[in-house]
Symmetry: C2
Subunit: 104 residues, 2 copies
DNA sequence: TAATCATATAACCAATTAGCTAATAGGTGA
DNA sequence: TCACCTATTAGCTAATTGGTTATATGATTA
């Protein structure tokens, strides 16, 4: 149930995009994420809650810890949907393919 | 020379994403764009300059008019680049392909 | 040159954002 | 229960954003 509005708002912050990139390597507890960033732990917590509201990450309490992980499908879906809406189809898809080349 | 930072900042505004979608149908003069949106002409002008700074649109003066058009390649490139950086590759690309299906 | 049309810039305002520290809540284990 | 650790929420501030109206710039035409 994540609106494109929330996703793009979430992605507008460089810090949040870096958190996502960091999470792409695998799930982590909130504190472990905070340690990597040069800001207070509450600040990171707020960023995580914005990412969660956009459904870009999931969250699961495990004992004292709260683990976060990426929702890659949702991110890909929203961005691809936007590209489809906004790009003259042929050119847009070519650009994606160019970036894909060789992967997978 | 458009940084991802500027692109994501530009895309953070719903109004700007709507302007892009509108421009995807073809180039238009600033005034023609402004008429479609329920806000003042200066406000739209400012949005256009932010889109231009992110290199998401081009701008060309023609007589009294200033025409704007999309830079679809740059948009696609930045978003695809980000997906590559942030998504566990296999899943991310599958999501893009799902959205592409049938197009082109 | 003066009048007019199309855009952009300036100056301002209200609302939002991103950070901080301090306080609170949730969970573990002596 | 108490002490301790982890994480979130509250309350604050400074900076940024997105809009406004008024003014300035640039191009055309009489």
């Amino acid at each position: 149930m994540s609106s494109p509005d929330k996703v793009f708002e979430a992605l507008a912050s460089t810090t949040r995009r870096r958190i996502l990139a960091y999470l792409s390597e695998g799930p982590l507890a909130a504190g472990a994420i905070a340690k990597r960033f040069d800001m207070s732990q509450p600040a990171v917590s707020k960023h995580l809650s914005i990412l969660e509201a956009a459904d870009l990450v999931w969250k699961r309490r495990e004992g004292q810890f709260v683990n976060y992980g990426m929702n890659a499908d949702n991110l890909g879906g929203v961005l691809a949907g936007f590209l489809q809406e906004v790009c003259p189809p042929s050119r847009a898809l070519k650009a994606e393919r160019r970036a894909e080349k060789g992967e997978d």
